[in-house]
Symmetry: C2
Subunit: 340 residues, 2 copies
């Protein structure tokens, strides 16, 4: 009996040791031998990321940062997913106006709807930027927040990207998805800070990136609280802008919504310039990264003169200050998840 | 040697068993025998809380809610801390105007500052509500966000509540602090959703309630991004209002910032009415609670006719719909932490 208890105890102890270590080791350490960023080619860019994360997560290192302060912010369009040939939210809005036509017979006689719906490019051009904004606003107002979320989900389920012929939410960048997961496994809290509409992104961001709704910061519209005849409340989306989370609006949005200065920020265009500056201006270790679109074969190539995702001033500052600049063509082994 | 290895192994196994169970058991279960809400008297109110939490956290229960959806929102003034005889942020603003007097010699000749600083109640009364708002705005604008946070911290370190003669941030409600911790230990994410200024609250909310800055939703002002001569960025607080997170603004603020409908909400006044309605209007299990101030001896007693924290319409709906209404006098064993 003594020997057999001993055997049981030995087995128990071994089992406990195994379980204990799998439970108690810092998250991620069990898989220390596996590359957490397999879609990134080895080189200075990848090393700048892993070195930074190593320093801020090593107890006793001069650059150690407590988990609560490990705030990482990411632009969305052009940084986490593709933004060409037009911002995907603009594609959604125009498709949506077409889908709404049946409920709006008056649009047949009303500009800019008439020009857009009849495909009259000349007449639409005459409506200018204001005409386009009216179309976008129509797709984003006059319905409840729940109805809007449904319209985004419906669109994602049916619309296809004109070049890649895939649902738009498949056009996310695999290396960035890995980076988000890597940061989270190292105690970071990951946020989106985008010029896009916050309600548009929240419909699909959690599934695409693992970022929950409460960690998505974006542009917002004014909503109106209303009760129906039965006393049921809803929020009506109006056409009035509440906040534009772009350019200098990004530090303002971070201050308003997150309330801490990030230590890690990633963008791709001049719309992210101030967010990167704001992140780098704090004390202690800081990381600023820029995705440069250099790969016309696998994605797109554009920078200084581009109308969408222009990268000019932020790039100059990145070069001057030694921020990390990702060259999509050489730094990314894979671009989209579906390539694998 | 065999016996001694065995002894070592036995000690190791016992130790591992102890460590293992303290690590691997669900959070809170180790203290299952301890009352997580010791400052709440036993009764229907306390039971309504623990029953709800039990149901939504029990796997297999029809009311089980996944942790990601366990969003709990709390009003601040009058719900988590005292709001009498005036909102503490108003007390801060008036103290702050006095402290700023030396930097503003022009105020000696300028209303409403002249009337306020000279203690001329009649002249100040003539300035009306607009005069008071001008004073409050002066304390909240014309400085950077960092400078403002410092001014709040300085005030908390020196100012005392007129009745309790203690720093304002000691006037938090012990039962609510316990409730917040209890919810978090059951997988809830706790948020403040307050009419108060978000930047005012974030300075002290984490220490007081364990709620991090990114989980504080409140009223906001417009900030202006600026670079100094050396290229260092800051955010200048302007006097322009960005968003008022009160009344119907609370569901709007929740939608804008959290992006999920809470399943648990607590307030104390008609300013929380729409937040409670919005919370209760979702599908699945829901909890709405109201703190009723009934204890003039230990705190204050006020409801329908009060100018601060008026509780009228929300109370009627709570009674009609069977929401939980806390009677401070009978439901709370302790009110403030310093009583213990």
């Amino acid at each position: 009996m003594f020997a057999s208890s001993f055997a049981v105890l030995l087995r128990t102890a071994v089992l406990l040791v195994l379980v204990f270590f799998s439970v108690a080791l810092p998250h991620g350490a069990v898989f220390a031998q596996t590359d957490p960023l397999p879609s990134w080619n080895d080189g200075a860019v990848k090393k700048s990321i892993t070195d930074f994360v190593g320093r801020v997560t090593t107890q006793g290192d001069a650059d150690f940062v407590t988990p609560a302060e490990r705030i990482a912010v990411f632009d969305n369009d052009g940084t986490l997913w593709c933004e060409q040939p037009v911002y995907f939210q603009a594609a959604f809005a125009l498709d949506r106006v077409k889908a709404m036509e049946v409920q709006h017979p008056e649009w047949k006689q009303q500009q800019p709807f008439k020009a857009f719906l009849s495909g009259d490019r000349k007449a639409l051009g005459e409506q200018g930027e204001k005409g386009l904004l009216t179309l976008v606003a129509a797709a984003h107002s006059g319905m409840t927040t729940d109805e809007f979320a449904t319209s985004v989900a419906d669109w994602l389920a049916s619309a296809k990207h004109p070049r890649f012929n895939r649902p738009y939410n498949e056009l996310i960048y695999q290396p960035m998805v890995e980076l988000l997961a890597y940061l989270r496994s190292n105690g970071f809290k990951t946020f989106i800070v985008s010029g896009g509409g916050v309600e548009f992104m929240r419909v699909w961001a959690e599934k695409a990136y693992g970022i929950p709704p409460e960690q998505v910061v974006g542009s917002t519209g004014v909503t109106k609280y209303q009760l129906d005849a039965a006393g049921r409340p809803s929020l009506l989306k109006t056409a009035k802008v509440q906040f534009i989370d772009d350019g200098p609006g990004k530090p303002a949005g971070i201050n308003m919504t997150i309330g801490r200065r990030p230590i890690f920020a990633f963008g791709n265009s001049d719309g992210d310039h101030q967010m990167l500056q704001w992140t780098m201006a704090g004390s202690g270790p800081r990381f600023a990264g820029i995705v440069r679109h250099t790969d016309a074969a696998r994605e797109y190539a554009y920078d200084r003169p581009s109308k969408i995702g222009q990268l000019d001033k932020a790039w100059d500052e990145a070069k001057a200050k030694g921020w990390t600049v990702v060259d999509m063509k050489s730094d990314w082994k894979t671009v989209f998840p579906f390539e694998k």
